[in-house]
Point group: C2
Chain length 157, copies 2
DNA sequence: GTCAGTGCAAACTTTTTGCAACTAC
DNA sequence: GTAGTTGCAAAAAGTTTGCACTGAC
């Protein structure tokens, strides 16, 4: 059984519960978009969702995708990453909770890494007048490819 | 002496050095934009810089501001924050290094907080094939105002 | 004098909005 | 039936680009 599909059931149930609590309608479009989102193992953006759904012959407007992502973020099922200014990416929260991100400032490549200690430290943080729900740790730096490329450039001089 | 202006000298010198190393020109526009940036104690965006400069009767195009912010980021003097999708904010790196951010997911308010332990843990991180230059830790959650507001709404039902 | 740097406006991309049509309840 | 939901297209917001002019070296 794929972990993606396994989680998909739990996520769909959580969304159903959210819609019920908020007295929102359980429309086909909402559940179909969520279903497609659950198939992404990593980061995704609005365009990727739309394209994937077109490929599966399910026609939906981008406006609806934005609308539903807002609901999913409000429901705490999806988180937003803004690694660069022009491309906003999203990720399922249960996926995001398992790792942090290292972003290369030179080529924008995103690498995931795991660490046990830091999330514990962060969970222990007490911030005055603020209720902690989720955190995002991003390390910016240089990936090995860019480092190598820059070394070559210096030598070329 | 204001800390903002005190730092401004060091920052301007670092930028001068950067421009020299890269063989870029030390234009008036570049230094004037940097000067105005140094007056922001917290986060700022392109619009804020442009408005501040207009208010001081220094006319500059937004394109130049984008251009120069790119240089400042490359020089390691400014960092980019993307707390929300539609508003990219920047911050002087020496200011950003002193704190982390807590963002309210409901009203987008950004609160700063300090912690000694976590930056040390992060500095000790070893990520394969990646050179750590800077990090960004953002906690998402709910600020006390929104918590209060939501409590009232529930009671109202 | 030369070429990097800049301003301007237009182009481009991503996201939001208004309204008519649709559908879950 | 009646609201909430969706699609479409247009608008808005933010950023990038192309080109002619300017100014640092």
């Amino acid at each position: 059984m794929s972990s993606g599909l396994y989680d998909a059931n739990k996520i769909r149930d959580a969304f159903t519960q959210y819609l019920t609590e908020k007295a929102l309608r359980k429309s086909t479009v909402r559940f179909t978009i969520l279903e497609h989102i659950c198939h992404f193992r990593g980061h995704f953006d609005v365009e990727m969702i739309w394209r994937r759904m077109e490929d599966h012959n399910f026609h939906v407007s981008r406006a609806s995708i934005y609308n539903i992502i807002d609901l999913l973020m409000d429901a705490g099922l999806v988180v937003r990453h803004s690694f660069s200014s022009q491309l906003v990416q999203y990720e399922l929260k249960n996926v995001a909770a398992t790792h942090h991100h290292a972003v290369c400032a030179y080529c924008s490549a995103v690498k995931e890494f795991k660490n046990e200690k830091i999330p514990k430290e962060i969970a222990n943080l007490k911030i005055a007048k603020f209720t902690h729900e989720y955190h995002s740790l991003t390390i910016y730096g240089m990936c090995s490819k860019c480092k190598f490329r820059l070394t070559l450039q210096k030598k070329a001089k």
